[in-house]
Amino acid sequence: MSRQIPLEVIADVGHSPYISERKVYPRDVSGRLNRLRIAAVVWLLGMYYAIPWLQWDGRQAVLFDLPARKFYVFGLTFWPQDFPLLALLLIIAALALFFVTALAGRLWCGYACPQTVWTEVFLWMERWTEGDRGRRMKLDAAPWSGEKVLRKGSKHLLWGVFALWTGFTFVGFFTPITDLAARTWPLNGAGAGWGGWETFWVLFYALATWGNAGFLREQVCKYMCPYARFQSAMFDRNTLIIAYDPMRGEPRGPRQRGLGSVMQRGRGLLNQVLAYEFVYRASGHAAAGDAMALARAQAGLATDDAFTASLTQPLPRPAPDAVGDCIACTLCVQVCPTGIDIRNGLQYDCIACGACIDACDEVMLNMGYPKGLIRYSTQNAIDGQPTRVLRPRIVIYGLILLALVAAWAWGVGGRPALIVEVLRDRNALYRTVSDGRTENDYTLKLVNKTDRARTYRVEVEAAAGIALAGGPQLVPAQAQQVLSLPLIVTAPTTIHGRQNLRFRIHATDGSATQIVDSSFFGPP
């Protein structure tokens, strides 16, 4: 009786507890903040597409020439030695982001982030080809037909052309764009063509644009962006956020025609505890209950299902004249590009685009209620507390930012126009030549960082008798040339052991001087 009981672990397929991200169909919105975003899109994308075409002193104004290891930004040229300046610039950018976030929330996300900006343009194209929100949802649900192919096809055609142009412009920041345009195949006949890497990067960046702005959209903000995950560290109750006013809006719901706003009919604002209680119960109670159960389970606590369930019972229907100003039209949810309900309060998914404000203001206008049920505000203001703009966090961020900007400007202005290195020959310490003198070999590396040709005079300062073979030398260097020259220093037989030696290199027009200390070795 040693028969094995066949026992197999059954793979768990088909009922994963994770659901895929559902597609968000943001409804079109118009209003003050949307106009501001359109202006930002036009300005920022305009800069992106126009800047590579600008010229400066006969070269491309902004060019990051990686093969030559030089970055040109308008009148400035940056060398690899200037990397600390680039690092400092990135630190300044990060700190500026912290400062703005602490002060005014996620303005970057809503108006300036490339993800938002390109997504906005891709949404316009989607709207031109597939129609508004309702039509888009219907089109996606419908079976494939001639019209669907035509609409989807023209959308992807528009997206594709725009994405390719974006990729082309991107490469144009790294390789001269006029030359790149002249070599575009097949526009300029046979024989034209881009190099392998140029082609790769144009296509790669185009694909990234198409995928990020066309498909991933705000999923990038929710699941890929590190800033979205730590922006809350900069937030406090005085930070400008997009907030729903539950004291005014709750209990939400439909109402009789002609019912005035809470202020007009004298109901006034609810107290905070009651208002947030309404929000909690109205906010997809299932989700709130699940979150609590999960938190308890992860902490190793038993889940009290009866307690959770008691929290998620709907409240009794309010009396007709007790309802708040939120008419529960859900337009704020429909316009949201990340698909959240701002009435549930501040959430990390909120990119602060303000679409819900525009949508709600329009509804309030139609109802004859005052605007601002959802508004730019601070948590303190929403809760009826005074808002403090000047607070330690702001002052400290501001001061550090100012100091770094000053340091950067000083660093850029004070960069040396000449870089010199002198390397001793590593193969031989010294060499005795036929007339008995001693010689040492050096390699002079000289970088003329200016945009003009210069001549440099190389001299040696050392103990008596030690001199440059052939006397002081004149070295001509072209604009931005990197030179490598052999130098020989000779000394009479009276020189023994190690001697200090100083190379002095200066431009003949007196514009730059560099001193390099080195050593000379004679026989022991």
Binding site: L7, H15, S16, P17, Y18, L66, R69, W197, P226, Q298
Partner: protein
Amino acid sequence: MTDVATSRFAPPPRPLGQLVGAILWPSFFAAGVATMVFFAFVDPLLLRDMTFPRLSLTRGLGYTIGFFAFWGATAGASTFTWLLLRPPGRFDRALPPN
């Protein structure tokens, strides 16, 4: 048998797409930064002369090799982190039959 997928005491396994994304994306990001810092100080041509002077590598190819080497290292570290963060008890089960 414990139904691990629905256990309330350990988070269920992540879908493959999320896993691969969570390993590749941050490592890509870190590799990009590392590449920028490294090659700001080191010229790929000088590095070639010091290591493989016989190979005819260009600067562009040097940058590319550097980036993918960094990405390999950072992705390896991310994968290791993932391995260590997996709930160990999830994989306790009987040895396979002979």
